[in-house]
Subunit: 171 residues, 2 copies
DNA sequence: TTGGAAAGTCAACAAGGCTGACATAAACTG
DNA sequence: CAGTTTATGTCAGCCTTGTTGACTTTCCAA
């Protein structure tokens, strides 16, 4: 076990990083297992409503950016419009999402959560926040900073842009 | 924006943690976007072979624990045995995985990668390790420690056990 | 020795990805 | 104004990967 791996230089200037394949494998599995935990609570709630993760993602980003357009959502979610449309259609039919024709550009549809949609969003995000909060507290503030730094580096540049855009100002 | 959230106490003893809903939302989106980056490279390779993520997961954990049984794999992957079986069947048919009837217990199948399977595993994990390595280096060693600490806290206890089991001894 | 539990397989269904083709309306451009 | 591009929606069909139910083989314990 524990195969050594040469060719490891360069920290962010502060130190050299010797990363064995085994250490990297641990990181890979950490992502896998943690992501499962991360989605477990919302998944349980969604199941009660007969929705899936795709619905959760749509609801999340509509809530984050009320009035967003279908096209914008597409670029964030990285799925096809047919795929997104199916999800969006059921959410509109079920009265969780309101789709309003644009005023400036009437081709666009601006998406908002209804009160019912906002209620589900709160239930979902509360569950997810609770787990995130517990993890953050248990790990401590420095760990949280490291967590964010590594995840940010792991994103594709395009997605990183969406991530950074979502914040309240810089940082 | 930036809604305050009371009821935030307790670091790991070192400090108080005030976590707003907005900070937690940022963490949630970090997980979402980073996981996409994390799977992007293997997904591209898998597509060339006509496989999906489910195949990758099976290959990964068979490689990690050669000779593992179907049942053990099931408890790690958290899917139904029927679902896993379909993936496993194609991998065996395609000559990537070898399924040997157990000697002690003939009900069990012990799973190994063939040379062909090991080759695909190397291609997949190399791509994933490269991204992880780059992210780790860019973020620095302290960030890596924090990353691991938070992810470990985010896992369900059962999955955490599998995660810890996978290491070379404790830690 | 026999009945239940456990491991694995086969069949059928559903969610949610995907591609391709096409329709409509609005906006833009020469 | 004619023609093109853009934004969105829809239909049809395919694939992966999850699900449940029914079944076989093997093991073990009463």
């Amino acid at each position: 076990m524990a195969d050594r791996n040469a060719a490891n230089l360069m920290g962010r200037g502060e130190s050299l990083l010797f990363l064995t394949d085994d250490q990297l494998r641990r990181g890979i599995e950490a992502m896998f297992f943690a992501y499962r935990g991360f989605t477990a609570d919302p998944d349980r709630i969604l199941q009660e409503y007969g929705y899936g993760r795709a619905h959760h993602r749509a609801i999340h980003f509509i809530n984050r950016s009320p009035g967003t357009t279908v096209n914008n959502l597409l670029s964030i979610l990285g799925v096809t419009k047919q795929s997104l449309n199916r999800v969006l259609r059921t959410l509109v039919e079920d009265g969780l999402v309101d789709s309003r024709v644009g005023t400036r550009d009437k081709r666009e549809r601006h998406l908002h959560l209804t009160e019912k949609g906002a209620a589900l969003e709160r239930a979902l995000s509360e569950a997810q926040r609770n787990r995130m909060r517990d993890a953050f507290r248990a790990a401590g503030p420095e760990a949280v900073a490291g967590f964010r730094a590594v995840l940010e580096q792991m994103m594709d540049p395009d997605m990183k842009r969406h991530y950074l855009d979502g914040g309240d100002g810089p940082r």
